[in-house]
Chain length 252, copies 2
């Protein structure tokens, strides 16, 4: 098992941020300045073209720490952040940019490419979870949640289906085919975000992926607006969702 | 203008509950024990067959006071609580019970009956709002919200469309025809609750009513479960929604 090595540590507004490396990828761990011991752990997957310390990731981490007192971890997906791109990555990204520029549907490119990335990413996430649970402040027993939209959902659905340690998940903004088949194997509580006027993901397709989860406890949050207009208050809602299902850190 | 007269006052857990009468109907006003002055006012409409002090009303009021420090008012709908039923009320209620017992769709009875009640209820709500705004602790200037599901939505949509003082609303669980035409005139922020597996309101019809609101800022919360299984945490979500749009009482 590869060892997680912390490279930097900064602290502000009651949140400690530590960057780490694990083998050949980078990550970050946010924790409350006090009370992090044995707090529930939230794994956050970033969106396509983004990275583990993008503003969306650090912004959501801040809300999760403030509301739930959680430990929050992100890692770079394959081909993202400082990680090298394969020829396959380069080809798919070029195709995606061509489709965007031409105003053509991106789903037929994004879906298979993101599921290809998920095959590479799921073992990396499981190794990350192993390594995080070796840390004395996290430990092997605490509840774990997953939070990722867009590509973070394409990776998170197979990860959650495969990983019994994940006990609640927030997903959103992806196409159902062929991911719905995997979603049907997920029974943990799910909160699902979609944009009601998404110009990339047809409304019926977004609803179909939500419908597929086998979870008895699942909630759809559909907000008016286009793909990139997901309201920031959904991060607060996700934090309250994790508090309901994983508990709150005692000191938070 | 009829005068609002308080009949009882009790206080527990930091919440003051006062019952009142206004002409020929009863109501209740919940307020924080301190800091109620000029706090935003939430009007809550109860569901069919229910009344102004049902557990759903007092339970939601408690969450609204705790989270937002709001003043929260309910009144009995026509034919509900201690109010007399008309022959029309008796006939429609009997038809509804027959349909329920026979396992037949209730929408064809509930929809026209609830819209008939709305015609009687909307002027009563406006008179109630006038009277509440005469109270020194509420005043004429503060922001007003409306929160009502089921019959509370059948009454609340025409009320909100007619009443410019209502600046944000939480609705849910109703049929679109013919209410969608009125919803199209509503532009204030809306949060809309529906049950994904509602045995009375077909999913596509629930989604169609949400779709109809003209509001740029609107959010659908769809939860797995049947009609009566709406999760209680949606009351907390409604409170956070009103805090976002109406502000929080200073002392809350």
């Amino acid at each position: 098992m590869k060892t997680l090595e912390f490279t930097t540590e900064t602290s502000s507004n009651g949140i400690v941020e530590r960057e780490f490396t694990l083998g050949d990828f980078d990550g970050a761990l946010w924790s409350p300045a006090s009370g992090a011991e044995r707090a529930p752990l939230i794994l956050m997957g970033h969106g396509g073209g983004n990275h583990h310390k993008s503003p969306a990731m650090s912004g959501r981490a801040a809300r999760l720490v403030a509301i739930g007192g959680f430990n929050v971890a992100t890692i770079d997906a394959p081909g993202h952040g400082r990680r090298p791109r394969t020829e396959h990555d380069e080809r798919e990204i070029a195709l995606m940019q061509q489709a965007m520029a031409a105003g053509e549907p991106v789903g037929p490119i994004v879906v298979p490419y993101n599921l290809h990335l998920a095959e590479r990413a799921v073992p990396e996430w499981r190794a990350t979870l192993d390594a995080l649970q070796e840390l004395p402040e996290i430990g092997p027993q605490g509840p774990v949640g997953y939070y990722g939209l867009n590509m973070g959902t394409a990776i998170g659905i197979p990860l959650t289906a495969a990983e019994p340690r994940i006990r609640a998940a927030v997903f959103g903004q992806f196409w159902p085919d062929p991911l719905a088949a995997t979603a049907k194997r997920i029974t943990v509580p799910v909160e699902y975000d979609l944009q009601w006027d998404d110009e990339h993901i047809p409304r019926a397709e977004g609803l179909a992926l939500f419908d597929a989860f086998a979870s008895k406890d699942k909630t759809l949050h559909a907000n008016a607006g286009r793909h990139k207009e997901l309201p920031r208050f959904e991060a607060d809602s996700a934090a309250h969702f994790f508090v309901r299902h994983l508990g709150r850190a005692t000191a938070a």
